[in-house]
């Protein structure tokens, strides 16, 4: 899936997905804010099933995520776990890492510096 657009002066939101074995790697760029959070939340569950229970979210180029986006992460994490898989994040963005820490989302979801590191940890 590829989706990209600008709207009402809002930051770009773009998603691209590739499959690596039993793991989907979802790269999100731009911002997950209120006009995108529902789409993001609806998209992640479509990737997780018994054959592909793992998810790596590559947030290397993500600049912003709101609490609805965090809720989508946690829901996908739960769904992956229910299928015997796991969800891991990749980012070096300081603002995002701090947000994950403040909310303690990083207590549930492992954060790696790169998607390659996240994939290696799952394997």
């Amino acid at each position: 899936m590829d989706a990209s657009r600008e709207s009402l002066g809002a930051a770009t939101y773009a998603v691209s997905t590739r499959l690596e074995g039993a793991t989907h790697v979802v790269s999100v760029t731009g911002s997950i804010q209120w006009e995108h959070a529902d789409e993001f939340q609806d998209y992640l569950p479509t990737l997780i099933n018994a054959e592909t229970p793992n998810l790596v979210l590559d947030f290397s180029a993500l600049k912003f995520i709101n609490s609805s986006g965090l809720s989508a992460l946690l829901a996908a994490h739960r769904q992956a776990r229910e299928h015997g898989g796991e969800l891991r994040l990749a980012t070096k963005q300081g603002d995002i890492i701090r947000l994950l820490h403040i909310t303690r989302v990083d207590a549930l979801i492992q954060v790696h510096e790169t998607p390659e590191d996240a994939l290696a940890a799952i394997a």
Binding site: W34, E35, K63, F64, R78, T103
Partner: protein, 158 residues
């Protein structure tokens, strides 16, 4: 989006910033918007532009954007419960030293102190309360009106 002197959108709204916020009521820009997230985008963009023009760092703008989105989402979805006949009111003032923002809705309000702590282990996977916690984490001060349908937020630029 328009300015309105006094109407139904004023119910439970205080136009006086809390003590210590460092701005006078006459310094505030006041906007009244229809109760949709799309309409709420305009005050958000105006405030973020004012922050950039007043030299706020990207790290602070990230936090104010986060807090503001949570306040506006709460007002539209929870306060006014998505009722398209209602309005939200946003007042703001931005100087090189501080940003003061007020968001109000026409709903019945709520008791912010009764919202569960989303960082407790038993609440980590529940969405409830995370937005409010983020507002408090990223802003210097957050104060609700007695009715709970009007929130004032201060972010100092330091």
């Amino acid at each position: 989006m328009r300015s309105r002197p006094s109407d139904s959108a004023d119910i439970g709204v205080s136009h006086h910033p809390p003590s210590g916020f460092g701005v006078r009521p006459q310094e505030l820009t006041r906007l009244v918007a229809p109760n949709t997230l799309r309409a709420a985008k305009e005050p958000e963009e105006r405030i973020l532009t004012a922050l950039r023009n007043n030299g706020f760092r990207d790290e602070i703008i990230f936090g104010v954007k986060l807090a503001l989105e949570e306040a506006l989402t709460n007002a539209v979805k929870h306060g006014n419960r998505g009722d398209a006949s209602k309005h939200i009111t946003v007042s703001y003032a931005v100087t090189p030293e501080r940003a003061v923002i007020m968001v109000a809705d026409e709903g019945p309000g709520f008791a912010p102190d009764c919202v569960p702590d989303p960082t407790l282990d038993e609440n980590l996977e529940r969405p409830c309360g995370r937005g409010l916690m983020l507002m408090r984490a990223y802003m210097t001060r957050v104060e609700y009106s007695e009715t709970g349908n009007c929130v004032w937020m201060l972010r100092e630029n330091r």
